[in-house]
């Protein structure tokens, strides 16, 4: 049995397939017969939800996150982006049944998450839900993120800690910083957000496509909201519960949080210089 391209119903979808060039190259590439033909990459009919989980050295929590996501979103496809972990994260994630995109070098959170969007776009997933690998996001809340996107009411839904639910309390210094960022995002987008640094999100097809193309590298959460708004995407904030992290520590503490603020504020200011177009 050879992998002839005409095989199976997967051909039907190859019209809008971004990997069509790859299919042409397969003829000189002696693939083993066991592999499916290249264009068979439209695995998710219907809604096609891909759960993107960025993780860096989260071996303590990644397994439970994947289990919880699997329980809450049964038909979703979970992909863990291992951003160059030095521990067992990738192995544990694979054993828990997730697809694992292992980045050979560390790209930082922006690059890692974007790899997830590109993965989702390539394999035809319509919706992406982004959940941190550290267990801070409660997957039982994913459904409420998903709903507005599935109903076509929003292109991007951000889960907020501050909209009433949950008992997450941030240290005072951090709270001030978050207020400043919220004010700046409001200035840039004309829309009120309470939790701009939340990485718990659902994205519809337009947002996935935009972010697969361009996504901020280092501290992407705040900037990506402005980027989405500037491209005419409809953004919604919904209340979610978040918990204190159980394993590992926040990557942004002490002097790094000052640096974080400076970088994000600067990025928003520079962005504002470029005007409202595009």
């Amino acid at each position: 049995m050879s992998p002839t391209p005409g095989q199976g119903r997967s051909r039907a979808s190859s019209g809008n397939n971004p990997r069509i060039e790859v299919a042409g190259r397969a003829s000189r590439d002696p693939l083993s017969g066991a592999l499916p033909p290249e264009p068979a990459n439209s695995p998710s009919q219907g809604l096609g939800v891909c759960v993107v989980v960025p993780a860096l050295n989260e071996s303590g929590s990644i397994g439970r996150v994947i289990d919880d996501v699997g329980r809450e979103l049964r038909s979703s496809h979970v992909v863990v982006i291992d951003d160059g972990s030095t521990d067992d994260t990738a192995r544990i994630a694979a054993r828990a049944g997730a697809a694992v995109v292992s980045l050979p070098v560390n790209l930082g959170i922006g690059g890692a998450v974007q790899a997830g969007y590109r993965y989702a776009l390539r394999y035809g997933f319509k919706v992406v839900i982004q959940v941190d690998g550290d267990g801070q996001h409660d997957p039982s809340e994913a459904q409420s993120l998903l709903e507005p996107v599935a109903a076509g009411k929003a292109d991007m839904v951000v889960g907020s800690r501050w909209l009433g639910r949950g008992d997450y309390v941030a240290p005072p210094g951090r709270r001030v910083g978050m207020r400043v960022l919220a004010a700046m995002v409001r200035w840039r987008t004309g829309q009120r957000f309470t939790d701009t640094t939340s990485g718990f999100r659902a994205l519809g097809p337009r947002a996935v496509e935009l972010f697969a193309r361009s996504y901020p590298a280092d501290f992407p959460e705040v900037e990506s909201i402005v980027l989405a708004a500037r491209n005419g995407l409809r953004i919604l904030e919904v209340p979610v519960r978040m918990t204190e992290r159980r394993h590992g520590r926040s990557s942004i503490t002490g002097s790094r949080s000052v640096y974080y603020m400076a970088r994000v504020v600067l990025a928003l200011l520079v962005d504002s210089l470029e005007g409202k177009d595009k």
Binding site: A40, S75, S102, L107, A217
Partner: protein, 124 residues
């Protein structure tokens, strides 16, 4: 006179080094042209030291102390060069990021499991 010889030796030395690097293809074409031009300018300036061209130029642009003209030009050149390289690094970084992501995605392979709808050729 001695200063002319000294700077000629240095700049010809630089010309030799840069042409050798170009011949061995250690430089990209664009950079090769730049360094060739730089070394030729250096040779020209050294060779014409006795003619006091520099003093002349300096007085034309209103610089009282001629060597300052050289320093000014050198600093300007280096600033532009570093800025250009900064841009080049950003571009390389973007390409590198794309490649790393691509390698990761290719390594993961297509999502064959966990999608019950699909019983295509891969499952056989």
């Amino acid at each position: 006179m001695r200063s002319t010889v000294l700077s000629l030796v240095v700049s010809i030395g630089f010309l030799v080094v840069s042409t050798r690097a170009i011949r061995r293809q250690h430089l990209r074409e664009q950079a090769a042209i730049l360094w060739l031009a730089v070394s030729l300018v250096m040779v020209f300036l050294s060779a014409t030291l006795p003619l006091h061209l520099l003093d002349h130029f300096a007085s034309v642009v209103g610089i009282a102390y001629p060597p300052d003209l050289i320093l000014l030009l050198a600093v300007l050149f280096l600033v532009v060069l570093v800025f250009h390289q900064s841009l080049a690094i950003a571009k390389l970084n973007e390409r590198h990021k794309s490649l790393v992501q691509e390698i990761g995605i290719l390594g993961a392979g297509p999502p064959s499991d966990a999608t019950p709808e699909r019983t295509g050729p891969g499952g056989a």
